[in-house]
Every structure is written in structure tokens, then in C-alpha cells.
């Protein structure tokens, strides 16, 4: 067992656990934060995406010992923040979600990409989003979401009308 201290959604936390305990399990079982989903457990589906030090990471691939002193943000925190509002609005308006199970992970990645300076072009963003699998949409609504968020011709009016 080790004691790990890190920041979770803006608060300092301390956990005693085996060093190899996965962040995904810590989030769900210890902190009851269930927005990160156990879709595959091996970093292939992106459903457990969180941010560590502002970078998107599959929580199933991170062990507890790697968390010491890091800043972890889960979708519970992001879902109520203004920085994800354009992404959430675009996903809802463009049909970017159906069953919704992949949605928190997808929104973590998308919000990260949308905040990057300079903002990626639509095709670049699409490549960077390919690690988030969705079995429902056929990516049609997700492609429309990308156009809204990353195509300069389309994104300007959306940003102005974005509710927070």
C-alpha cells in the first residue's frame, strides 16, 4: 500500500491503495465519480478519458503511484464548466451522442482540443479524436460537431450563441 496525494477536480485528496491501482478504479470506486467509463480497460476506447495536468489521458492506463502531485480533472468537473460549454452545446445540437456512454470521454478530448492554442484544424482534430470510439453514431453527428467547433467558417457564430 502507498499513500498518494494529488489534486482531484480542484481539491487536494489523499488515498491509501496499492501502487498499481488504476486511476479509473480510484475515480469510480473510491470517489464514486462514474463519468469515466470502463469500456475496455486497455486504453483502446477512450470512454474513461480524464485530464491529468490538463492533458487528456485514459484513466485505465494510469496507476496510483503515477498520480503523486498531479492535477486530475474528471468529466464531473468539466461538465459544469464554461470551458466545455461550446463542446456540449455542439454535441447536443449536432447529434454527437446517442446512448451517451462514450460522451464524457469524448467531451474531455474535444474540450481539450478546442482549448488548444492555436486551435487545430478540423481534420487535425478528427485525427486526434480517433482514440474515442463510438458505436452508436457512426460518427456522423461527431463529424458535424467537429465542423461546428473547428471549422473557422462555422465556429464563430456558434461561439457567440453558446449558453454557459
Amino acid at each position: 500500500m502507498i499513500t498518494v496525494q494529488f489534486e482531484l477536480n480542484g481539491k487536494a485528496v489523499s488515498v491509501d491503495c496499492p501502487p498499481e491501482r488504476r486511476l479509473l478504479e480510484l475515480l469510480r470506486e473510491t470517489f464514486h465519480l462514474t463519468a469515466a467509463k470502463p469500456g475496455c480497460g486497455i486504453g483502446r476506447c477512450g470512454a474513461c478519458m480524464v485530464w491529468i495536468d490538463e492533458q487528456p489521458v485514459n484513466a485505465c492506463l494510469v496507476m496510483a503511484w503515477q498520480l503523486e502531485g498531479r492535477r486530475v480533472r474528471s468529466y464531473e468537473n468539466l461538465a459544469t464548466s464554461t470551458e466545455s460549454a461550446p463542446v456540449r452545446d455542439a454535441l447536443a445540437r449536432c447529434g454527437g451522442l446517442q446512448c451517451g456512454y462514450c460522451t464524457p470521454g469524448l467531451a474531455m478530448t474535444l474540450t481539450h482540443l478546442h482549448r488548444l492554442e492555436p486551435r487545430p484544424k478540423r481534420d487535425e482534430a478528427a485525427l486526434l479524436l480517433a482514440g474515442n470510439l463510438c458505436r452508436c453514431t457512426g460518427y456522423g453527428g461527431i463529424r458535424r460537431t467537429l465542423a461546428q467547433l473547428f471549422d473557422p467558417a462555422i465556429q464563430a457564430p456558434l461561439d457567440e450563441s453558446t449558453p454557459t
Binding site: T34, I42, L91, L97, C99, Y101, A130, L133, G140
Partner: protein, 759 residues
């Protein structure tokens, strides 16, 4: 017997193009909740809950000699270690065939077949207990091939033998029809074992509520049926159980049947505690059902004028260890192998074999997609032999809109196939060359046409009960035992409620998937729910509107022509009279409800499993084949859907795009082989599904026409995009490469071997 030229005079198409659908699309009503990370059934964690774990068989086929659970029971934190001997009620479950043990007692029939189940304080303790259970097995010969399974000397997977279901259908004079043919194509086609790959693996919780009930919360497609079956297994009266099955993190048919819910319920019953059970991806792969792989020998022919004369089909499907929906899947395969075409003679045979290859069951496209792939390949090949354009050849051979159905049954007249082809024949992708090469890349455009059934076949669970109610807060509720799996049922139902009750969407609440709150509406399956709700509201909406007005009259004097409207009751001139919340308060003790029992609408023909209602879709696929790597990239898909009036544009778009890419996966990359009864992959690193980088440009077109006096209304949209995309992509690959595509998925190796042989 020869078919006349069935080109009916079509009234003008009522066509909505892709841009039109996008303009109509609105956010799903449940989008906000999903974007706020509302929990799924498998997210209901509780510190008080015990953790369940399953001991599954490590062998595909073995006799159980002894199970010793003593060491496991003695471990710390362990509350229960249960085997088949601990089941108080029915030891097996199933649909048409009750053949699947809740826990195996005497033999195991596939990898992961549950033998024992454990509840412990922590997941680690549960896992330790599972590994401490000792089971002695005597291995049996593994049946991993459906053809061998049917040989006389094959090891029997079940006591009754390995032939689970078979059927035969023939009409017309086959000999004469064959003799009339100038061109005949015969081949054997193979379709893959596709995995649903819903991202939420099977999981949930069973808790005890204050009323002494077990509350079973797992994503599913039919909470009421599950409640009845689990009650039987636990030997409890059904009112001791509540089953909540919504929302579902993806299903596509895969969560239609029970899997692990009975095990969690059994543990909760025996321990008196709440129990969680959630499969990891490997366990889900082992225990979850798959698409039935099929071997399909087809022989069909046309005369010198390009008229189809006959089709013969011999279908062999692998259902794996247990029946689940297997027989219905085979029935659908046989009914749809004929297609929307006319023949002089039809001869069809289907067999369904038990094997030790996991378990196959319901999957979007449901038996039909396999045979539609084979049929549409045959049609393209015959068109080429006869010297016809593939689209013209199909038009030439369509059955008349009022012709009998594929099995000769009475069906609702329908000109959807004619319209779908007519819309595509002028599409720019079709009028451009169907094949060209650009150095390294080969491009091809393929066409497919399918019709597919709505609802279950004759004798299936086609009836439905729905409830309309005025809730305490004044919402106009539709209560249905269906579940929201992402298909936008809530959105479509909200729209229909507003339309038929003449109210606003904000006045409506859709209550789904909870046996304590919702009636027995039958399965959320077979593309049936939109049609069912439409029928219910069309036929009973006027009565319900009148009931709301009558309820108000008890205490309030209303204008004689008062009616429902947005927000509440209004006078004839539209002046507000009483809003719905006030109405609900006013009749607090006798709030009106209306129970709607929709009878099954089935074909009157005496043909088991035959369908009455069909929708249609035609698709164009454009592929780019890399002649260096053999990889197929699907670049464009165009789907022209003849499904009647569009209820929910966003729902239609989502179902079409999602199903099309699922079909693209089946045609190009997805297969789960089972050599020796062991799946070749157990996670998404060995079984690949399409990513964003693989997704094509998809164009969806909606043709809203139905025949005059059509009694059914909108056709289901949940499956047909899979059905049509698979053969369209297969035909496109054939056009691009010249490969005679007979086996899906078309792997890079197959493409490269073909190109090398050509060179």
C-alpha cells in the same frame, strides 16, 4: 408465371434530402442529462453493496464431475458461493427454447459458461473466492463447426442433438423456372461473427427496497419479460421484483436477452444484501451474444431478357451454445433471402446448429443482413451476366407493390423499393462511372436494395400495452416498458405525443423501462417501438384528448368546444381555459389514465414467422481500395430510405449513420473467429470497430410516401441501415477490384491475393 414489367406509376416522391433532415433535426430531449453524466445502470455504486463475480468455464465443452466450493466459502469477506443447486426456481431460461442454465450443473457448453457465482465485500475478495473454487471437468469433443455439428457422429451439445431449428419453404415450379434461365449464378457466401461492442458492458446492481422487493437495475430491452423470467428463477412472485432497464449504454440487440441479471438477483436474494455485478470487456466478450455467422449457398437465375426466374438458398447458421433468438434469426434470414424481387419459383432451406462457439443471438439486422449480402451479390452478378446496369436490373425485377410477400404471405402493399431505386438512379454518385483507377487506388461504386420487416413475425410478441396518464405535476405522460438505448425513443415519442395530443413537447413526459412504473409493452426490438407508439396515439389520441377535457368538466365549466393545446385546455377560439398543472391539481384524486392494449397486427396468412409490414432502403457505397495494402476505405455512403413519414429527423439520421458504419465494419473489418471454440479476441485490441478516421461521408435521404390507406404508418428505422450498407459496400468492393466477393469481411489479404492473381 413469368413476371410482367412491374414499373408502377409512382406519385411524386415526398423526399427530404440530407440538408432538409439536418434542418429539421433538434437536440435529443435526453442530451442534456447525458452531457451532465447522468449514471447508467452499471454506474449505480453503493458502499453497502457486495461485489459479485462469476466463475465461468475455461473449456468450450466439458462435463462437470464435481464442484468444491468449501475453500472459497472459508475466505474472508465472502458472503455467498452459489452453484446450480442453490437456484430456488427454474434452473434454465430462454425464449422459444428454454435451454440456457442460469448456472451449469452437469456440463458446460462454451467458454465462460457460468458454473458458480460469488458475493464478497470487495471485488478482490470476490475474485479470490472465484479462483478458490475447484471444478473437476471431463473434457468433451469440441463442436466448433456448424456443418460438422450436424453430422451423425458429432458430439451432442444438447441432449436433443445439434439441429436446433430448420425450415423449408418452396413455391412455384422450380424445374421449369430453371429451364427458362439463360444465366445462372451459384456460390457459397460466408458472413462473419460480428460483435455488438456496446461500450457499456453488462453490469448493474440488485438492491432491496423498503417494500421488500428486489430492484434489478441493468440495461436491457424488455424489463417486464426480464422480471417474469427472473421471478421464475428465484421462485418469487413477480411483484417481489422490480426491473429497471433504462437507460442503456448501447445494445444493438445484444442486451435483449438476459445474461447476468439472474446471477446478481440470486446473490442478492441469498445474501439479503445489495449486490453489484459488472463484466469487464473480456467477460462480456465471452458471455455476450454475437451475430450468427452463416454459410449461404445461393443459386439463382434470369432469362435472356434479364428477368429473374428462380432462387434457391440453403442457409446454415451457427447459434453457438444456446438458442436465445437463434430460431427467429434463421426465420428472418430465410424470409429476407428472397428480397423485394419477383421470381417464378423459390426454394429455401435453413438449418440452425448448436456448437460450442460462444453464443449467438439478436443483433441489429437480425438474420436478414447475412442473406441480403448474399442475395445482393447474386443480383449484381446476374445483372452483369445479362448485360444490365445493376440498378435497371433491380428495377426490372421488383415484385409489384401489391404482390404477396417473400414467403407468399399477405403483406401490406408497398412501393418503397421502387421509390428508393428511382431516387438513386439520378444521384450524381450513380450517374458517374462506377469504377475507376487512380494509380495505387481503385475506386468502385456499389448498389444494394433491401426491404426489411417491421416487428416480429407471425406468432411473435407483437402485442403491446401502453399507458397515457396525467401526472401529479400536470405532465402528459406516456408510459411504456421500452428502454432508451440511444435510438432517440424519448425524442420520437415526445414528438408524437405533441402531434397527436395537440400539446407542446414541454407538456409531455416519457416514462420508460421500469416495471414498477411502466406496462408490458413487449420488447424494444425488431424496429417496432416508433410504429407501436404511432399506432397507439393515432388510434387512441382523440379518446385521450376528450378524456382530459372531460376530467376538467367535473369541476369547471368549460366552453363546449374546449380542446387540448400547448400548455393546457383552450376554448374553440384558442383562449386558455385551464393549464395542465391546474387540471392535475383539480382532479388530484381521480387523475385520468388510459390503458391502451394494442393487438398484434400480423399477416392473416398461415405461415409461421412471416411478416406483414416492410420498409425499404437502397444504398450507394463508394470505396477506395489501396492496391498496395489491400485495405478498403469506404469513402461515401448514400442511403435512400422509404420508411414513411419522418417522426424524428435527428433520430433517423442517427440510426442511419450509426447502422451504416456498423454495416461498414461488418463488410470490411469485423469478425470474431472461434477456432476450437475459443474466441480469437477478448477486447478491442484484437477486435476492431470503425473509428472516426474510418467513417465515411454519409448522405441520408428520406422518402416519406406510403401507399394510400396504408394502415401501419412510419416504418422502423433502427436496423435497415445495417441491412443495406453491408451489401452496398460488398458490391462496391467487387466493382472496384473485380473480386468475386463471397466472404465478409473483405480482408486486405483477400484483396491482395486477388490483385496478384490478376496481375
Amino acid at each position: 408465371m413469368n413476371t410482367p414489367d412491374h414499373t408502377p406509376d409512382l406519385t411524386p416522391h415526398r423526399l427530404i434530402d440530407h440538408a432538409g433532415l439536418l434542418a429539421l433535426a433538434r437536440p435529443r430531449p435526453d442530451a442534456a442529462a447525458k452531457l451532465a453524466a447522468t449514471p447508467f445502470p452499471s454506474d449505480h455504486l453503493s458502499d453497502q453493496a457486495l461485489h459479485g463475480a462469476i466463475l465461468g468455464s475455461p473449456h468450450p465443452h466439458a462435463r462437470i464431475l464435481a464442484i468444491d466450493t468449501r475453500a472459497a466459502r472459508a475466505l474472508p469477506g465472502v458472503h455467498a458461493v452459489l452453484t446450480a443447486a442453490d437456484i430456488p426456481g427454474t434452473p434454465c431460461y430462454g425464449l422459444r427454447h428454454v435451454d440456457r442454465p442460469v448456472l451449469c450443473a452437469d456440463k458446460v457448453r462454451c467458454i465462460g459458461d457460468p458454473v458458480a457465482v460469488v458475493a464478497a465485500d470487495t471485488a478482490e475478495q470476490a475474485h479470490a473466492a472465484v479462483t478458490a473454487i475447484r471444478v473437476d471437468y471431463a473434457l468433451l469433443a469440441v463442436v466448433d463447426d456448424p456443418l460438422h455439428a450436424l453430422e451423425a457422429q458429432a458430439e451432442a451439445v444438447h441432449a436433443g442433438g445439434n439441429l436446433l431449428h430448420h425450415l423449408h419453404h418452396a413455391h412455384g415450379d422450380l424445374g421449369a423456372a430453371v429451364a427458362a434461365c439463360e444465366h445462372v449464378v451459384e456460390d457459397e457466401y460466408h458472413s462473419p461473427r460480428q460483435m455488438h461492442a456496446y461500450l457499456e458492458t453488462e453490469g448493474g446492481i440488485v438492491e432491496h427496497d423498503d417494500d421488500g422487493r428486489l430492484v434489478v437495475r441493468f440495461g436491457c430491452q424488455n424489463p417486464e419479460r426480464d422480471r417474469q423470467v427472473i421471478a421464475g428463477i428465484l421462485n418469487l412472485p413477480p411483484d417481489r421484483l422490480r426491473v429497471i432497464g433504462t437507460p442503456v449504454g448501447g445494445s444493438y440487440g445484444g442486451k435483449d436477452e438476459l445474461t447476468i441479471q439472474p446471477l446478481a438477483a440470486l446473490l442478492a436474494l441469498k445474501t439479503g444484501r445489495a449486490v453489484r455485478l459488472h463484466l469487464n470487456r473480456g467477460e462480456s466478450t465471452d458471455l455476450g451474444v454475437k451475430r450468427h455467422p452463416m454459410r449461404m449457398r445461393l443459386r439463382s437465375g434470369c432469362d435472356a431478357d434479364g428477368r429473374l426466374r428462380f432462387i434457391e438458398a440453403d442457409i446454415l447458421a451457427d447459434t453457438g451454445a444456446y438458442a436465445t433468438h437463434g430460431p427467429e434469426v434463421l426465420d428472418a434470414a430465410i424470409e429476407h433471402v428472397v428480397g423485394p424481387y419477383a421470381y417464378d419459383a423459390v426454394s429455401l432451406r435453413g438449418r440452425l446448429a448448436y456448437t460450442n462457439n460462444g453464443i449467438a443471438g439478436a443483433f441489429r439486422g437480425f438474420g436478414a443482413v447475412q442473406t441480403q449480402f448474399a442475395l445482393e451479390r447474386q443480383i449484381d452478378r446476374l445483372a452483369a451476366l445479362a448485360g444490365f446496369d445493376p440498378l435497371c436490373f433491380r428495377q426490372r425485377n421488383l415484385a409489384a407493390p401489391d404482390a404477396p410477400g417473400p414467403l407468399g404471405q399477405h403483406v401490406l402493399p408497398f412501393d418503397g423499393p421502387h421509390r428508393a431505386l428511382d431516387v438513386l438512379c439520378t444521384h450524381a454518385l450513380w450517374t458517374a462511372p462506377h469504377r475507376h483507377a487512380d494509380g495505387r487506388y481503385l475506386y468502385g461504386t456499389g448498389l444494394a436494395l433491401v426491404h426489411r420487416s417491421d416487428g416480429f413475425g407471425k406468432g411473435g410478441p407483437n402485442a403491446a400495452r401502453l399507458v397515457l396518464a396525467l401526472a401529479a405535476d400536470g405532465k402528459l405522460e406516456l408510459r411504456a416498458g421500452f428502454t432508451e438505448m440511444g435510438q432517440n425513443l424519448i425524442g420520437a415519442a415526445t414528438r408524437m405525443m405533441a402531434d397527436h395530443l395537440h400539446c407542446a413537447e414541454d407538456d409531455v413526459r416519457i416514462v420508460l423501462g421500469d416495471s414498477a412504473l411502466t406496462p408490458d409493452s413487449g420488447p424494444t426490438a425488431a424496429s417496432r417501438t416508433t410504429s407501436i407508439i404511432h399506432r397507439a396515439l393515432r388510434d387512441h389520441g382523440p379518446r385521450w384528448r376528450a378524456a382530459l377535457v372531460d376530467a376538467a368538466r367535473v369541476d369547471v365549466e368549460l366552453p363546449s368546444a374546449a380542446r387540448t393545446a400547448a400548455g393546457g385546455l383552450v376554448s374553440e377560439a384558442g383562449h386558455p381555459v385551464l393549464d395542465y398543472p391546474s387540471l392535475a391539481r383539480q382532479c388530484a384524486t381521480t387523475r385520468p389514465t388510459l390503458v391502451i392494449d394494442l393487438p398484434a397486427e400480423e399477416t392473416p396468412s398461415d405461415i409461421p414467422a412471416a411478416h406483414l409490414v416492410f420498409g425499404a432502403s437502397a444504398a450507394l457505397a463508394q470505396v477506395r481500395v489501396d492496391s498496395w495494402s489491400g485495405q478498403v476505405k469506404v469513402e461515401r455512403l448514400v442511403l435512400a430510405n422509404a420508411l414513411g413519414p419522418v417522426i424524428s429527423a435527428e433520430g433517423l439520421l442517427g440510426q442511419m449513420e450509426g447502422g451504416a458504419v456498423m454495416g461498414q465494419g461488418m463488410a470490411t473489418i469485423e469478425d470474431l473467429p472461434s477456432p476450437g471454440g475459443r474466441y480469437a479476441a477478448r477486447n478491442l485490441d484484437g477486435y476492431f470497430i470503425p473509428t472516426l478516421a474510418d467513417a465515411p461521408e454519409i448522405e441520408v435521404l428520406a422518402i416519406e410516401n406510403l401507399m394510400a390507406d396504408d394502415p401501419a404508418g412510419p416504418r422502423g428505422a433502427g436496423e435497415i441501415s445495417v441491412n443495406v450498407a453491408v451489401p452496398a459496400v460488398a458490391n462496391a468492393i467487387a466493382h472496384a477490384t473485380g473480386l468475386t466477393v463471397t466472404r465478409l469481411p473483405v480482408t486486405p489479404d483477400t484483396v491482395l491475393d486477388h490483385l496478384e492473381r490478376q496481375a
